[in-house]
Amino acid sequence: MIRHLISAADLSRDDAVRILDTAEELAQVADRPIRKLPTLRGRTVVNLFYEDSTRTRISFEAAAKRLSADVINFSAKGSSVAKGESLKDTALTLEAMGADAVVIRHGASGAPYRLASWVRGSVVNAGDGTHEHPTQALLDAFTMRRRLGRLEGLRVTIVGDVLHSRVARSNVLLLDTLGAEVTLVAPPTLLPLAVGSWPCEVSYDLDGELPKSDVVMMLRVQAERMNAAYFPTVREYSRRYGLDASRMALLPDQAIVMHPGPMNRGVEIAAEVADSVRSTIVEQVANGVSIRMAVLYLLLGGAESGTERAEAAR
């Protein structure tokens, strides 16, 4: 197993499947009278959040606590960061406090990568700028596998603001590793320049893609990152790239609708679609805790990498 989880591309197929299988077992813990395992007792997980986040931070916190780890939450607001402390100095402070893992969300792409060279513990990327969000991709893959029974050969259509989406990039990389076929659908202005080098197809025609999709994943229109006019009006975007009930009717019978949240109801996804039986949006949140438990267990649960021995038994 790898030591840090910074990019979905760091995961081999075996690693990724192992995380999904582990999450499958750990999902049972949520149904037990005692929703806690003693595995990470005495280990410390720091949630280092430089950007606002509700579900990801709470999800990591719940995951770490279910494994009995001690959790320290650090948000940039109201901390020394507001006084101008650098990421490196913050990292060294965490190091001195004995953090075994640092879960970091940062507005700058690449911040987790830098952090990994400064701290001894494991670094888990919880979203860096417009770069990656690997645990989101893992929980999406986990949700697909649970609903549809497989990932190999699954046709996944990812729709919307790919340019600003770390979720899209991580999903493309991970789903490719796991054997799914990904198609991105977006206005040309909301696709990254280098999209031609990604392991996926690109289309501008949502209605043409929906009938052959097993999964359609709607991305949030990230108004806070839009510093230019990427599309004329929200209404026009919604009409061409939003998922409403009549578009949903084009999907095959078994197909599911996903959204990483938070949703802009009425923009990229209509309320009746978000609340339909095809929607996995609430499941994705529950699955997120299981996936993050699996990641924390596999990164922290065993021997530290220096003392690794061959795994003889299984």
Binding site: Q28, P38, L299
Partner: protein, 218 residues
Amino acid sequence: MHALQSGGSPESGPAPGVTHGRSATLPGGKVVLGSEEIRRALTRVAHEILERTDGGGDVLLLGIPTRGVPLAHRLAAGLAQVEGRPVLVGSLDITMYRDDLRLRPARSLGHTDVPSSGVDGKIVVLVDDVLYSGRTVRAALDALGDLGRPRAVQLAVLVDRGHRELPIRADYVGKNLPTSQREVVQVLLSEIDGADAVVLGKAAGADAAGPAQAGAGQ
């Protein structure tokens, strides 16, 4: 769960038909129980369980992965055959409760499958293949405590090889097998390994330091 070796030496195949399946056989291994003896031992244990639990009414058999699980199912079939009604059976993975997790890279988890009626009020019989240090059973007791409150917990093992490191004993033993700590006991079951046998062999060189390492899975 055992200190297996890959690629057992060819001249020491312990028994005909035991060499296929997932596990490699131990070099110089000696078959101490064949499939008939395993069958008889499990039949006797099944009867003992019925005797000691007044007919097995509240019994829940929980196998500890990997090889405790098929053993639990075989015992359940034995109990059901004698009493003429089905017996609850499941599996209990203990990986997250082990005391040696930090000694090795993170382990893959086994499957926990507890019948929907739960463990509360049941007589839970834990089933494992080999009883050695007792650490697996300690972990299983902790895992069980997080699932509920059984009326009683008992332990059934196919082989008790001695060398306990904790104050734990088995209620039902298929075979008491005196061993030295340098030896390795390997249980092969047809569901996993293609054939039934219990093999006693020499541990591989320096790795045979003791129960905490070589027999961690027992």
